[in-house]
């Protein structure tokens, strides 16, 4: 037992590296907030553009969403981080991580919001249009609010799954929780920083996981 504590919860190591992991936690939190805001915003925007049903534009959006949903994010991250400098575009690791995860979340959010828009009853469109609202007004004032409400549970789940992927930043050297922890672990030759990282992620994400479970039961349509 003592050996176990010494290896995984060593007080000396923990005291020394807690500040670094807290710094990493800040990085993770800031990146996560930015990714969720930009990703969902971009995805919802694309779904709205798709609602105008201009064939060529819809086609491009569908390809974008399909490709980013089929590719492992780590592949895209490595591709951008190691490939772009060769053609003269230099981006920091954090920026690459932000761009890739925002695009991936946007791809999923577009599909989810689009499903919500198509699931809104046709009568809503017709009623709104017949009162004299334009197509754009109908979309933004009548359909989108209902669609967004419908898709809150799947959108929450997906946002959690993708913000957790900020841990992938460790591979290209982003100083997030996992990045700080692996550095600390190799300096201290002790597993405690990794334990601390796992705890940090649980503290950060568990409330959202529990909230998403509650949202799902609350929004579940009666009978389904």
């Amino acid at each position: 037992m003592e050996q176990f504590l010494d290896t995984f919860l060593n007080p000396v190591v923990l005291a020394k590296y807690t500040p670094a992991i807290l710094q990493g936690t800040m990085v993770t939190v800031i990146l996560s907030v930015l990714i969720v805001l930009c990703g969902i915003g971009l995805g919802a925007g694309l779904a709205c553009i798709r609602a105008y049903r201009v064939r060529l534009i819809s086609f491009v959006i569908v390809i974008f969403a399909d490709v980013l949903r089929a590719l492992p994010p780590l592949v895209v991250i490595l591709l951008m981080f190691f490939g772009l400098p060769n053609v003269g575009i230099l981006l920091s690791a954090s920026v690459v991580l932000f761009i890739v995860l925002t695009l991936v979340l946007a791809a999923f959010a577009e599909e989810i919001v689009w499903a919500g828009i198509t699931a809104t009853p046709k009568g809503q469109w017709e009623a709104a249009r017949s009162t004299g609202l334009t197509f754009t007004q109908t979309l933004f004032h009548v359909v989108l609010p209902q669609a967004m409400r419908m898709v809150i549970p799947p959108l929450t789940n997906r946002a959690i799954a993708i913000t957790k992927m900020t841990a992938l930043g460790m591979v290209i050297g982003v100083p997030d929780i996992l990045g700080q922890a692996t550095t600390a672990q190799s300096f201290s030759a002790n597993a405690s920083p990794l334990t601390l990282a796992a705890i940090a992620y649980v503290v950060l994400f568990l409330p959202f996981v529990i909230a998403s479970r509650w949202l799902e039961s609350r929004f579940a349509s009666p009978g389904a």
């Binding site: 089929a70 590719l71 492992p72 592949v75 895209v76 672990q185 030759a189 597993a191 990794l194 796992a198």
Partner: protein, 221 residues
């Protein structure tokens, strides 16, 4: 423009990388073949547990699912691969990946099966039990088949997620497809091998993504 082709779509380098990447693909598929059934079975048990009338079993199952949904899979993997050796438990990359992904996948599969089991009307269970089927028989022959059918698109889309997840194994130097492509990239200073790997992932997963989209539309209508 020429520079982009040279750096990203260099056919010569892709051909050189191909044998290694294909070998990596084999390992990627092997991981999937091991991890997907294990995760699905683990998830099924966790789902059944999370609906158990026994309070201890229920909370333990829900705790397990929530914990492993909150920890990023890469953190879990590195903890198992780089952390456990300090306690004298050294695992091969393959075993570490299998354990890490099993825990992560079980949690996700559990959520899906749980939703499926909840979607089966209570009357089905009551009717089955009243015909004399045991609890286990009811689950196997009545509830579970309906539950699985109801959440088939979600199960499939989780399979896609697992295939994508295997790319994390590259971080612990298990020679799967991304690791192989990354190796050739670092030797040639050229991103084309990564494009090759991306192409193979697309070839593998795009059809599945399309099938899922069609499924979802059919269920919605």
């Amino acid at each position: 423009m020429e520079q982009i082709i040279q750096q990203f779509f260099n056919v010569e380098i892709m051909i050189k990388a191909l044998p290694l990447v294909i070998k990596g693909l084999g390992i990627t598929l092997l991981i999937c073949a091991v991890v997907i059934p294990m995760g699905a079975i683990g998830g099924l048990f966790a789902a059944i547990g999370s609906l158990s009338p026994n309070r201890a079993v229920r909370w333990l199952s829900i705790g397990f699912v929530d914990l492993f949904r909150a920890i990023p899979p890469l953190v879990l993997l590195i903890f198992i691969y780089a952390g456990l050796p300090f306690a004298g438990l050294s695992l091969s990359p393959f075993v570490a990946v299998t354990i890490g992904f099993f825990l992560n996948n079980s949690a996700y599969f559990a959520e899906i099966f749980r939703a499926g089991l909840l979607s089966v009307p209570r009357g089905q269970t009551e009717a089955a039990r009243s015909t004399g089927l045991s609890q286990a028989q009811t689950l196997t022959y009545v509830t579970l088949p309906q539950a699985t059918r109801n959440v088939l698109p979600d199960l499939l889309s989780n399979v896609v997620e697992v295939v994508k997840l295997t790319s994390l194994a590259s971080v612990v130097s298990l020679g799967e497809m991304l690791h192989a492509a990354g190796l050739v990239r670092s030797l040639t200073y050229n991103a084309s091998p990564l494009i090759l790997a991306a192409g193979i992932y697309l070839l593998l997963l795009w059809p599945l993504v399309r099938v899922i989209a069609r499924f979802e539309r059919r269920i919605a209508s």
